[in-house]
C-alpha cells in the first residue's frame, strides 16, 4: 500500500496532535482527577459535570464555541492578536486546545477512578514515614494507579486520533497544519477519491484495533500483581 506524501503528512500530524494532547491531559488530568477524587468541596460536582460535558455534546458545538473564542473576533483570539500573535482558529495550536478539551473526560475519568480506589490509609502510612504530599503522589499514588494511567493514555490517544467534528469546525482543512487523517478522509470522500479514503480508513481501523488489543493485553498483566489478595 503506497501512501502519498500528503497522506504521510496527515498521519504524522495526527500522531503529533494525539501525542501532545495525551501529554497535556496527563499533566492537567492528574491533579484534576486527584482533586475530583478526594475533594469534599461543593465545587467538585459542577467541575466534574463540566469535565464530562464533551461526552454528551456534539463535537460541532464544542468546535463552534471554540471558534468564537479563539478566532480573530473572540476574547482569546483578539487578545493574542493585540499582542502581535496569531489567533488560534485554523491552526495547529487551536485544534490542540480543542482536542484537549474534547478528550478531557477520557483522561480525567480513569485517573479519577484509579485515585479514588486508593486506600487512604496507605497515604497516611506514607505520611508517617516522612513522605510529603508530592512524594506520596509520585511514590504511592502513581504506582498504584498505573492501570488507570494506562487506560487514560490509550483512550485519550485513540480518541484524539478519532476526532473529527471539533477539528472540522475549528481547524478547517489546511495541509500540514490542521488536516489530520479524519479530515483527509472526509476530504477524499468529498472529492469522490474512494481509493485514497479507503487506504486511510483501513489504516485507522487497523491502528485502533491494534491499540485496543495491546491495551487489553497489557492491562491484564499490569493489573494482575497489584490486585489485593
Amino acid at each position: 500500500m503506497q501512501l502519498s506524501p500528503g497522506e504521510w503528512q496527515a498521519i504524522w500530524l495526527t500522531a503529533q496532535l494525539a501525542g501532545l494532547t495525551t501529554l497535556i491531559l496527563l499533566l492537567v488530568g492528574a491533579p484534576l482527577g486527584w482533586w475530583l477524587a478526594r475533594s469534599t468541596s461543593r465545587w467538585a460536582n459542577p467541575v466534574a459535570a463540566l469535565v464530562a460535558l464533551p461526552l454528551v455534546l456534539p463535537p460541532t458545538v464544542i468546535g463552534f464555541y471554540l471558534l468564537l473564542l479563539l478566532g480573530p473576533q473572540g476574547a482569546v483570539g483578539a487578545t493574542l492578536q493585540a499582542l502581535g500573535l496569531p489567533h488560534l482558529a485554523f491552526n495547529f495550536w487551536g485544534i490542540l486546545i480543542g482536542s484537549v478539551i474534547y478528550s478531557m473526560p477520557f483522561a480525567v475519568q480513569p485517573l479519577r477512578e484509579a485515585f479514588a480506589a486508593i486506600d487512604a490509609r496507605l497515604l497516611d502510612a506514607a505520611a508517617t514515614l516522612r513522605a510529603g504530599p508530592v512524594d506520596r503522589f509520585i511514590h504511592v499514588v502513581l504506582p498504584l494507579s498505573r492501570g488507570g494511567i494506562l487506560t487514560a493514555v490509550v483512550i485519550t490517544f485513540a480518541h484524539t486520533v478519532g476526532e473529527f467534528g471539533v477539528i472540522a469546525m475549528l481547524g478547517g482543512n489546511l495541509a500540514g497544519e490542521t488536516r489530520v487523517v479524519s479530515i483527509a478522509i472526509y476530504d477524499y470522500t468529498q472529492g469522490l477519491n474512494y481509493d485514497a479514503a479507503h487506504r486511510l480508513s483501513a489504516i485507522l481501523v487497523g491502528f485502533s484495533f491494534l491499540t485496543l488489543l495491546t491495551f487489553y493485553a497489557i492491562n491484564q498483566r499490569v493489573l494482575a500483581p497489584i490486585k489485593p489478595n
Binding site: D124, A127, P225
Partner: protein
C-alpha cells in the same frame, strides 16, 4: 511528656480530650469500647486529621496550635495500622526501603545492615523478597513493625495491631512488641479494647469513653480500682510482676519477685520469658489460719488493705503480698462476715490458678 487538649468533629462524633498529659516513655494503652474515640485520638496525635483543633506538645515541641499543625512527616512517628497498610505495589524489602530512605540519619552505606538487623529482630528475614500481598496477617504486622522502626521514630503509635490476627499470632506479636518497646526505649501509644493486652504490655492506661479522656492511670492504680473498665469482661484481676526461674526438682517453675515466690506448673516444652502473672480475683481464696492438707500450690501470706463495698453478694478484698504487690481476692459477703475480715488483718491467700502473660 505528651500534653495538650484536642478537639475535633467528624460527622456526629466529637472528640474532646480535655487537658491531658502522659509521660513520653514506656507503653501507654489507649483503652475503650469501639466508638470511644481511641483511633481518632491516635490519628489526631499523629497529625492525620486536618480538622483537629487545640494544643499539642511532644517533649516540649509544639505539634498543634489551634488550627496550625506540624505536618505528619515532620513528627517522627512510627505508626502501625490495624491492617498493616503495607504498600501493595512494593515487596517487603521495598516497604522497608521506603521507610529507611526517608529516615533522618539514614545513609546508603548502612542501608543493607540496618534492614537486615531490623528484619532479623522482628523475624521477617526470609520474607524480604516476597511481594507484600502474599503475607499472612501476622507477617504483615511484623513487616509494618519493621517499617515503622526503620523510619527511626521518636514515638510509636499502634492502632489495634493485633485485632486481625488469630490467637497464636497475637501472642507472638504481643511478646515481640513488648520486647521491642523495652529494647528501643521508644514511647509507645497502643490502642486496644482487650484488657489482657493492657495487662500484658502497659505501664499506664488512658481510658476513653464517648470521645473523652476519662482518666489516665498507671496500670497498678487501674488494677487497684475494682470497678475499672479493665475488669468489665472477667471481673477483677491482679497482675504480678516478677521473673521465672529454672524448673525445680518437683517439676515446678518458680516465679519470683524479691521475697515473693510462687510455683507454677508449666508444660515441659514451654520456655516462657514472661515477667507478668495474671490472677483472677475469683481464683483467690482466703484463710485465717495456715492451711494444711490442700492441693493448692500457692499459699501466700497477705495483709488485708481494704474491702470493696459488697456487690451482688460478693466482696473484693484488696490484699498486699509480702513484696508489696497488691493481690485481689473475690469472696462471698457471707465468708467475709463469718471470717470477720478487716483491714490490717494477716491472712493466707490460696491461689487456685494463675496465667502467664506472654
Amino acid at each position: 511528656m505528651i500534653e495538650g487538649n484536642l478537639t475535633l468533629q467528624q460527622g456526629s462524633f466529637t472528640l474532646q480530650t480535655g487537658t491531658f498529659a502522659v509521660p513520653a516513655s514506656g507503653v501507654t494503652a489507649l483503652f475503650g469500647r469501639s466508638g470511644s474515640g481511641k483511633s481518632t485520638l491516635l490519628r489526631a496525635l499523629a497529625g492525620l486529621v486536618a480538622t483537629t483543633r487545640g494544643q499539642l506538645c511532644f517533649k516540649g515541641e509544639r505539634w498543634q496550635n489551634d488550627a496550625w499543625q506540624l505536618p505528619t512527616p515532620q513528627r517522627d512517628i512510627g505508626f502501625m495500622f490495624q491492617d498493616a497498610a503495607l504498600f501493595p505495589h512494593l515487596s517487603v524489602q521495598g516497604n522497608l526501603l521506603f521507610a529507611w530512605q526517608r529516615a533522618p540519619a539514614a545513609t546508603r552505606g548502612a542501608q543493607e545492615a540496618a534492614i537486615a538487623n531490623v528484619a532479623q529482630r522482628v523475624g521477617i528475614s526470609d520474607l524480604l523478597g516476597q511481594p507484600s500481598s502474599t503475607l499472612s496477617g501476622g507477617q504483615r504486622q511484623r513487616v509494618a513493625m519493621a517499617r515503622a522502626l526503620l523510619s527511626q521514630p521518636r514515638l510509636l503509635c499502634m492502632d489495634e495491631p493485633l485485632s486481625a490476627l488469630d490467637t497464636p499470632a497475637r501472642a507472638e506479636l504481643l511478646a515481640l512488641i513488648d520486647t521491642l518497646a523495652q529494647e528501643t526505649h521508644l514511647p509507645v501509644l497502643y490502642i486496644t479494647h482487650a484488657p489482657l493486652e493492657v495487662q500484658r504490655l502497659a505501664e499506664r492506661v488512658i481510658f476513653l469513653a464517648d470521645g473523652r479522656i476519662q482518666r489516665i492511670q498507671s496500670l497498678a492504680d487501674a488494677l487497684a480500682q475494682v470497678d475499672s473498665p479493665l475488669f468489665a469482661d472477667e471481673g477483677p484481676v491482679s497482675v504480678l510482676h516478677g521473673a521465672l526461674q529454672a524448673r525445680d526438682g518437683d517439676g515446678l517453675t518458680p516465679f519470683v519477685h524479691y521475697n515473693l515466690r510462687l510455683r507454677l506448673s508449666l508444660p515441659a516444652s514451654a520456655q516462657p520469658s514472661a515477667t507478668r502473672l495474671r490472677i483472677k480475683a475469683r481464683d483467690v481464696a482466703l484463710a485465717t489460719l495456715p492451711p494444711q492438707g490442700l492441693s493448692v500450690l500457692n499459699q501466700l501470706p497477705v495483709t488485708v488493705q481494704a474491702l470493696q463495698p459488697e456487690r451482688e453478694g460478693r466482696v473484693v478484698v484488696v490484699c498486699q503480698l509480702i513484696d508489696g504487690q497488691p493481690l485481689l481476692a473475690e469472696i462471698t459477703a457471707y465468708s467475709c462476715r463469718t471470717l470477720d475480715i478487716a483491714p490490717g488483718q494477716h491472712l493466707w491467700a490460696l491461689i487456685k490458678s494463675v496465667a502467664l502473660l506472654d
